[in-house]
């Protein structure tokens, strides 16, 4: 495990524990940061401890004790923090400090953008700069957003806890949204793939905690079905492989079965929601024996059951294009061209794909060029570049 892996894996738990001990979000983050800095200095020469998480939590705890001593806070708080032993288990009714942290970060009294940012910062350990990039805002804006959110939690008295049972149904959707975002953060970036693992782990906990709620199960199914294809999405040298060209024998079929079973059980409760519908779409792909076997009409129908966001409209257009032919898809794409998707790389990429299927090489070339300038990840750029070269030979 690299230092980066340990950081991604342990950061949330260290911060979550420190918040529980100190009640101070800023202090918790600072102490966690210092603990990782200390590890980075010490581990290369002394070796990585057997339980790096415990070492980091203890180190962060000691920093907190030092700080509280310097600030001469009440002896009571100091004793509480200092008394925590390495072996301490979370209280019985709280399966994971991170879950507590997640519910608090996702409190409905916080603005949605603040919830997401706070979760990514405190739980996933993304830097303020990374979160700012992900949300296309200046770093100073994101930094203020995080500070404001933490101040509100502290001053308005947002409780640091998993909500009591009667509040869970209304507090859960916000958590799901954040978890899904977290999953995608890891899924779209190989370097952060453990974020997806973290999202799956937390989703499993949620399902365990709320066995009667079908949407957490739907979300977990969705994640498992996507994640089952993880290793086939890129070539060994990092070029994107589309669903159509992925080696289906290398998909994780045990995980697909688990996802489908979870989804079936959730759907039997008769309360479908957006995550169950998305999982059903993912299941259509994951259970098709070959790309040609894909049930595109069913997928297009499922997309109509989702809230019609611009991206959903684009995906539905792709499904219709695959079901009824690229010429139909191309016409539908025209309706989306001037909308909110302008500047989104998948719009020209989809157009390019339809044009390529129609053999309209020079138009495809232009669309691939446009997609290439808008694509955000290296693996996508290289995929588009390969396609571009393919069609330019024929154009």
């Amino acid at each position: 495990m690299t230092f980066e892996d340990i950081y991604r894996q342990e950061w949330g738990q260290v911060v979550a524990t420190l918040i529980r001990l100190t009640g101070d979000w800023e202090l918790a983050e600072e102490c966690a940061q210092e603990a990782f800095a200390a590890a980075l200095q010490r581990w290369p020469t002394h070796g990585v401890p057997d339980r790096p998480g415990a070492w980091l939590t203890t180190t962060a705890r000691n920093r907190a004790v030092d700080w509280l001593r310097r600030e001469a806070v009440g002896a009571q708080k100091l004793r509480e923090v200092a008394a925590m032993s390495d072996e301490s288990e979370p209280p019985y009714d709280v399966p994971d400090d991170r879950l507590r942290l997640m519910f608090t970060c996702c409190h409905p009294a916080l603005a949605m953008e603040a919830r997401v940012a706070l979760t990514l910062r405190t739980l996933a350990g993304l830097s303020t700069a990374e979160i700012a990039r992900a949300f296309l805002v200046p770093e100073t804006t994101m930094s203020k957003r995080l500070t404001r959110a933490k101040q509100k939690i502290q001053h308005a008295g947002i409780p640091y806890r998993v909500p009591p049972a009667h509040l869970l149904p209304e507090r859960t959707p916000a958590v799901l949204a954040v978890l899904y975002l977290l999953f995608n953060e890891g899924y779209s970036d190989v370097v952060r793939s453990n974020l997806s693992g973290e999202a799956i782990r937390l989703a499993r906990l949620l399902v365990q905690l709320m066995p009667d709620e079908p949407e957490p199960a739907g979300l977990l199914a969705l994640m498992l079905l996507h994640d089952a294809r993880r290793d086939t999405r890129l070539t060994p040298d990092g070029v994107l492989v589309t669903l159509e060209d992925q080696d289906r024998t290398r998909w994780d079929h045990a995980q697909i079965t688990e996802g489908v079973d979870l989804l079936d059980a959730a759907l039997r409760r008769g309360a479908p929601g957006p995550y169950q519908v998305q999982a059903a779409i993912a299941a259509c792909h994951a259970t098709a024996r070959t790309a040609a076997d894909t049930d595109w009409p069913q997928i297009a129908a499922l997309y109509t059951q989702l809230p019609q966001t611009p991206v959903v409209a684009l995906n539905r257009t792709v499904a219709i294009g695959m079901a009824d032919g690229p010429a139909v898809g191309l016409r539908l794409l025209d309706d989306l061209a001037d909308g909110p998707l302008a500047g989104y790389h998948l719009l020209p990429a989809t157009r390019a794909d339809f044009l390529r299927r129609l053999g309209r090489w020079s138009e495809a070339l232009t669309a691939y060029q446009e997609a290439l300038t808008l694509a955000t990840t290296e693996s996508e750029r290289r995929y588009l570049d390969n396609r571009l070269r393919e069609v330019s030979v024929r154009a």
């Binding site: 409190h107 009294a109 001053h155 308005a156 008295g157 947002i158 409780p159 909500p163 509040l167």
Partner: protein
């Protein structure tokens, strides 16, 4: 802070149902008062040592503060629960603001 538009005046003499009794029994109410309408308000500002008085509320918005209750409770979740139970939440708006000294969850 309990806010409402003009139509809220119709509820001025409604009382609070069982809310006041329940909250008194829980011991969470630390003070508060209903307010006369904004038409009877006087706004005070001092600029460059000059006293300026205006007839009416500080902001001409549709919703105005009609009263406030000081609540001393465990956390924001309890404050939300208390606010949501208040009859005015059904026709007006209740804004929860922490008080400055850091007592959490004051309405």
């Amino acid at each position: 802070m309990i806010c409402g538009d003009e139509s809220a005046a119709a509820h001025a003499d409604d009382g609070c149902g069982g809310w006041s009794e329940e909250m008194a029994a829980r011991g969470v109410v630390a003070g508060g008062a209903g307010l006369r309408p904004p038409s009877e308000a006087t706004t005070v500002r001092v600029r460059n040592d000059e006293l300026m008085l205006t007839d009416g509320p500080f902001a001409e918005t549709k919703e105005q503060i009609g009263g406030f209750v000081l609540i001393d409770c465990a956390d924001l979740d309890e404050a939300i629960e208390i606010a949501a139970k208040h009859p005015a939440a059904g026709y007006g708006t209740i804004e929860i603001r922490p008080v400055l000294d850091g007592v959490p969850g004051a309405v």
